[in-house]
Subunit: 142 residues, 2 copies
DNA sequence: TCAAGAATGTAGCACAGGCTACATTTCAGC
DNA sequence: GCTGAAATGTAGCCTGTGCTACATTCTTGA
């Protein structure tokens, strides 16, 4: 069923399903990007600790991301992000920071802001992100 | 691995995975509740139209929800929500309305607010919901 | 009343993303 | 250089959530 034959409510649900498909990818490239910046390497074990899943789940996720062209792996080089992967990581990180900051400005505690941001950051339109930036600016000005 | 042995970042990711498991349930009971109020019946076909998936996916989802005790089905009576299902539906609907209203207050268009709310409403802590209500009240007074 | 079309249900497939158990590879310290 | 532990990888399982193709059942209008 082509998207434009769907009722609006169905299009919204379809969009959320698509976003769920991208969530794991965004979370992984963001985490890998952070690890590479910090340690110059990103290991399966590190990611296992970050996501709280078995190392097998990490490896299978990396397989999928490699198939999607977001990263490459080799024995000697370890995990490296492709250009596309790096771009996705940077955008994700920026969006994550924005959402956390927005929640902090709203008065949400740091812990909660970090936790809720993790869930919602993949589901925000550009329009909503702009509105969030606007509120942050307003509050910063006083 | 017990949750409290995980690193904080892993706990956050674990929470998001749990929320994803509940999303479909909440969306379905909310939709069914709305249909029952409007039409006095909720049919597979209606839900198929709302979610934009095949009728088979709807039936399988209903099977799972029935197994979870959120609803009952019978030939003659159709789909009815259990007490638990009704409560979940009402809470979901209230939360959905709150999020939409919050985004509207932020200046987001109605279409975008509805769409983004669909994605994020399942991932908000009580603390963040309170902060959203607070901002709505401020804007309504000012 | 009965035949066609709508609604519902079943069988069986795919893929994502979890898991444990087992195998291999890499690396650090003796 | 060897050995044990850490890291990585493989095999094979489960569940959720999507699908098409094929029944079956219900409903409605000629």
């Amino acid at each position: 069923m082509a998207d434009d034959t769907l009722k609006p409510v169905a299009q919204r649900h379809e969009r959320v399903r698509r976003q769920h498909n991208d969530e794991l990818a965004e979370d992984y490239v963001e985490a890998i990007h952070g690890l590479l910046e910090e340690n110059e390497q990103a290991r399966v074990t590190d990611l296992q600790g970050i996501f709280g899943v078995s190392h097998v789940s990490v490896i299978r996720a990396l397989d999928r991301l490699e198939a999607r062209g977001l990263l490459e792996r080799s024995r000697k080089e370890g995990i490296r992000l492709s250009a596309e992967g790096q771009q996705m990581a940077q955008e994700s990180a920026r969006r994550h920071e924005l959402v956390v900051k927005f929640l902090r400005v709203l008065g949400v505690s740091n812990t909660r802001a970090e936790a809720d941001a993790e869930g919602i950051e993949h589901h925000l339109s550009e329009e909503t992100l702009r509105a969030m930036r606007r509120l942050i600016r307003q509050r910063e000005r006083g």
